[in-house]
């Protein structure tokens, strides 16, 4: 079976940075947002690495990465991402902060996917993060799928196995259990949890190949139409005090015990 896998994934501010919400001219924003380093949204990253892995094992598969984000920042992040897995890049220029409307984002993404010239929708597997690290509404992939007319949808996916007669899916459910399902095949949508794969090592050869499509895709990226019906009223971060303690050489058991004590307290 061959598939056309479209991965929706964008960038988020590097979580090591101090993220302070503030009021910007177009509503809420993060302090120094444009200047903060960005990384590939880890949820989307899992989806991309799973897609690449699947495509490598099956004949005639293709992978696209569709990103809605500020193109200058997308370009920087792609310098690392492009080396990790082969894909065709499709960029839409727009905000990638946590203050966007997932309804409008889904609209833009679905349009961008519709416009992919050589995409065979009969073979389409839509991949994305179950949530995103910027705003975990958990709704984007679902709405993209709806717009593309994909009704078989799975969320919180940890494992996907292609068998002779379809695809077996493990979805996360409460209590650390999995819900096992089977779908006949494409088209289907999968919102990935963490998947099973580690981050692949960089391969500059793959990177050089990918960049040939990434640079023009960024140049041609069309601005997304921001939704107008959506307004963020206000944002704040929980006022927790980070009390990081640095301890070296602490046995794992002791760490676990301390955590349990803390949770119980």
């Amino acid at each position: 079976m061959s598939y056309h896998i479209v991965v929706c994934g964008s960038i988020v501010p590097d979580p090591l940075q101090t993220l302070t919400p503030m009021d910007g001219p177009q509503g809420p924003a993060l302090k120094n947002e444009m200047m903060l380093p960005a990384v590939l949204d880890p949820w989307a990253g899992h989806a991309l690495f799973e897609a690449a892995n699947l495509a490598r094992k099956l004949p005639d598969c293709k992978v696209w990465l569709v990103s809605l984000g500020p193109k200058a920042k997308l370009q920087q992040v792609m310098m690392a991402v492009a080396q990790k897995a082969p894909f065709q890049f499709v960029a839409v220029d727009g905000p990638a902060s946590g203050f966007t409307d997932s309804f409008a984002v889904a609209e833009s993404l679905a349009q961008a996917i519709e416009n992919i010239a050589d995409l065979d929708k009969g073979k389409l597997l839509l991949f994305g993060g179950w949530q995103s690290a910027s705003r975990g509404s958990g709704s984007t992939i679902q709405m993209v799928a709806e717009r593309l007319g994909i009704v078989d949808q799975f969320q919180g996916v940890d494992k996907l196995t292609v068998t002779d007669d379809g695809i077996e899916v493990l979805e996360r459910v409460d209590g650390g259990a999995w819900l096992a399902s089977k779908v006949e095949g494409a088209p289907a949508a999968f919102g990935w949890a963490t998947g099973e794969l580690p981050e692949p090592p960089n391969n500059p050869q793959v990177g050089m190949m990918n960049m040939k499509s990434i640079m023009p895709a960024l140049q041609q990226a069309k601005p997304a139409q921001p939704g107008t019906g959506f307004k963020v009223q206000g944002v704040s971060v929980p006022q927790v005090v980070r009390e990081t303690r640095i301890v070296k050489d602490m046995p794992v058991d002791d760490i676990a015990r301390e955590l349990v004590d803390w949770i119980k307290a």
């Binding site: 940075q17 120094n32 920087q76 080396q83 500059p204």
Partner: protein, 682 residues
């Protein structure tokens, strides 16, 4: 007053170091950074540096380099690499990224390339293809071990160290059958040879001990050659423990075809195409840039941990609670803490500007040098002497080229045709680039490492007692120790100063230096005038010393007078580094607005960098002024030095506002946003 919002990110660096349009290089930076802050940082944190031996633990590095493509970075695509063309800037960026965390890991990554460099620069086609191919990771479907190399020049004390003219390693004819290729017997004892634990081959410098072999050469020796390939004892070094260093003892039999660059047989004598010193000259010309940048990376890497330390110094005590200045700003309440960090930052920026500038120019130089070689060979102009003479004939045209290159836009446009013509002249272009690189490369090596090491000491002092603990964030103590090796290997400071003694007096370079001064003079950037005056003072002193004689009537500006030439070289390095920083800040001012991510905080960035450049200009002008005054007055008490005195006074007067710039930069450091946590462990 401006505010510096965040620490400068990749976009800013790409503009300043001019690789915004090179995604291949940006990718390389990302790969190297991941290894640095992952594998390398973990190794250091786990104590891998605590042994002299090369361990399996340390060997993880090699695997990480292979997997991420760093091993094949040196190669061209047809050899299994991924970047076409010169790679000086690429290698410099990798060394910078790795040294940001650990200098030894950078050396480990570069050492195989150093071994390949003689083959790359001067090897025959067959030699290049053979070794380059083996040194790249296997391609899909291939099953083979990756060959790693070591470069063996230095020998047991007291033989080859700084003075590489004398070699104790010897090559003799072992067997030479009629019509067959001669077999050679090579004996080489190395001292401090990096990569020696796992090298499959060694590129060794040896001298002839046989009248059937002429002069010296470099030759490749392989671990499986018949004879003895004893890797020797590990060096009990106290720095760069993430690279392997041993003192090998090698006695092997090899075919003459291993002589790098090949050989001819003239009247029954094997004549190597290149002597060992010709090859070493070509190699070190390039590889010294990354070494200089290694120390620089550490200076810049110190900024974030020091700010973090300063700000959190008093948190948790009884004396201050959240919201109080003491709690929020910590040591940054104190002017001295801020301003010393400004000094460290400025030194780091200047070193980076100098080194990356040299690396970019070396990339431009490589193809020109190849064309020059081919051209002169075509003209039958072989051998260093004849080549020198041919280039000397081009000096007038090269000076004309420099004039036009730096002319103001109107003059340049009016003479565009002539400028193009001169630019297309391989020998003119070669002479220009060679003259500038002849200074900027050794300057990068000696100034970035030497002054950098001194400055790293200051960075540690800003961490107080924490700085000299093993868990000091940013491994500053290790970085300081390592910097001494960077100042030593590939030619210690004396070698670089000797090199500068010869190159800084090149009339083409002197003309270029004058143009740099003009450019600073024309700029209205704060501090430019002080630097301009200091460069003029240097040029004046150079001419003065060139004409002056000592008490015994002997020439002062002479290679043998290291007491004169070495300080003069040091003064020049300070000035050239500071001028390079001005140049990079120009690039930021010009191209920053075009980049949307940089544009947002550009005002603050430009304000801060303008002040840093002024701080550095003031420091450089001061250092140079002090050295020059000592030389001029120290040797020329009887002469008319009034012109020099006037220039010195001009330098001083042009420092107006330098301390205000430092105040502003220090203040900016109290506001800048830093990440929540350092992105590598301790």
């Amino acid at each position: 007053m401006y505010t510096l919002s965040t620490l400068p990110g990749d976009d800013v660096r790409q503009i300043m170091w001019r690789f915004s349009d090179r995604f291949d290089l940006q990718m390389v930076v990302q790969s190297a950074r991941q290894i640095a802050r992952g594998t390398v940082a973990t190794l250091v944190a786990e104590g891998a540096r605590h042994t002299h031996e090369w361990t399996e633990h340390k060997a993880q590095l090699l695997e990480a380099f292979d997997q991420s493509g760093l091993t094949s970075l040196f190669m061209d695509p047809h050899q299994g690499g991924f970047i076409e063309g010169p790679k000086n800037l690429a290698l410099a960026l990798v060394a910078f990224e790795l040294s940001w965390v650990d200098g030894g890991s950078a050396t480990c990554s570069l050492a195989s390339n150093l071994a390949l460099a003689p083959i790359h620069e001067k090897g025959t086609r067959e030699q290049r293809d053979f070794y380059m191919h083996r040194a790249t990771p296997p391609q899909p479907g291939e099953d083979r071990e990756i060959w790693r190399g070591a470069f063996a020049l230095t020998e047991p004390l007291p033989y080859v160290g700084v003075d590489t003219g004398v070699l104790v390693g010897k090559v003799r004819v072992d067997e030479w059958k009629d019509g067959a290729e001669p077999m050679l017997h090579v004996e080489k004892r190395g001292r401090f040879i990096t990569n020696m634990d796992f090298a499959h081959f060694v590129t060794a410098a040896v001298d002839s001990a046989d009248e059937r072999i002429q002069g010296s050469c470099m030759i490749t020796l392989q671990a499986d050659d018949p004879g003895s390939f004893d890797r020797g004892a590990p060096t009990l070094k106290m720095c760069h423990q993430l690279s392997s260093t041993r003192d090998p003892i090698i006695t092997v039999k090899v075919p003459a075809s291993r002589i790098i660059g090949g050989y001819e047989i003239k009247d029954g004598v094997i004549v190597p195409k290149y002597s060992h010193s010709e090859i070493i000259g070509a190699v070190f010309h390039r590889t010294r840039i990354p070494v200089g940048l290694m120390t620089t990376a550490k200076l810049l890497s110190a900024v974030e941990p020091v700010i973090r330390y300063q700000r959190s110094r008093f948190r948790g005590g009884d004396a201050s609670g959240p919201g109080s200045p003491k709690f929020e700003m910590g040591l940054q309440q104190k002017e001295d803490a801020q301003q010393r960090l400004v000094d460290i930052w400025a030194m780091g920026e200047a070193g980076a500007s100098l080194g990356f500038g040299a690396a970019r120019m070396a990339d431009a130089f490589d193809p020109v040098e190849k064309r020059k070689e081919a051209l002169l060979e075509e003209q039958g102009c072989t051998g260093p002497r004849k080549q020198m003479a041919a280039l000397k004939k081009k000096q007038a045209e090269t000076l004309e080229y420099v004039d036009l290159l730096f002319a103001d836009p109107a003059d340049k446009a009016a003479n565009q045709a002539r400028l193009d013509e001169l630019e297309a002249d391989t020998l003119v272009r070669f002479s220009y680039l060679d003259a500038v690189l002849g200074v900027t490369i050794p300057a990068t090596k000696v100034w970035n490492t030497g002054s950098g090491a001194n400055t790293l000491r200051e960075a540690i002092s800003l961490m107080g007692g924490y700085g000299i603990t093993e868990d000091c964030p940013g491994f500053l103590m290790y970085k300081w120790a390592d910097s001494q090796l960077e100042a030593t290997y590939e030619g210690p400071e004396a070698v670089q100063r000797m090199h500068l003694t010869v190159t800084m007096g090149n009339p083409v370079f002197l003309a270029v230096l004058g143009k740099w001064a003009d450019k600073l003079d024309a700029s209205d950037r704060p501090g430019a005038a002080a630097l301009d005056a200091a460069i003029r003072a240097w040029l004046w002193a150079y001419e003065f010393l060139d004409a002056a004689k000592d008490a015994e009537g002997k020439k002062l500006l002479h290679r043998k007078r290291q007491g004169v030439t070495f300080p003069l070289a040091d003064a020049l390095c300070w000035l050239v580094a500071a001028a390079s920083l001005f140049d990079d800040v120009d690039a930021l001012i010009e191209n920053g607005p075009m980049n949307p991510t940089v544009a947002e905080g550009l005002e603050g960035l430009v304000g801060f960098y303008t002040d840093l450049a002024f701080v550095q200009a003031a420091r450089a002008a001061g250092e140079a002024g002090r050295i020059l005054a000592e030389l001029v007055y120290g040797y020329g008490a009887q002469a008319d030095t009034s012109a020099f005195a006037a220039l010195r006074a001009e330098i001083d007067a042009n420092l107006a506002g330098a301390r205000l710039a430092k105040d502003r930069a220090g203040e900016a450091l109290t506001q800048v946003m830093i990440p929540e946590a350092l992105d590598y462990p301790m």
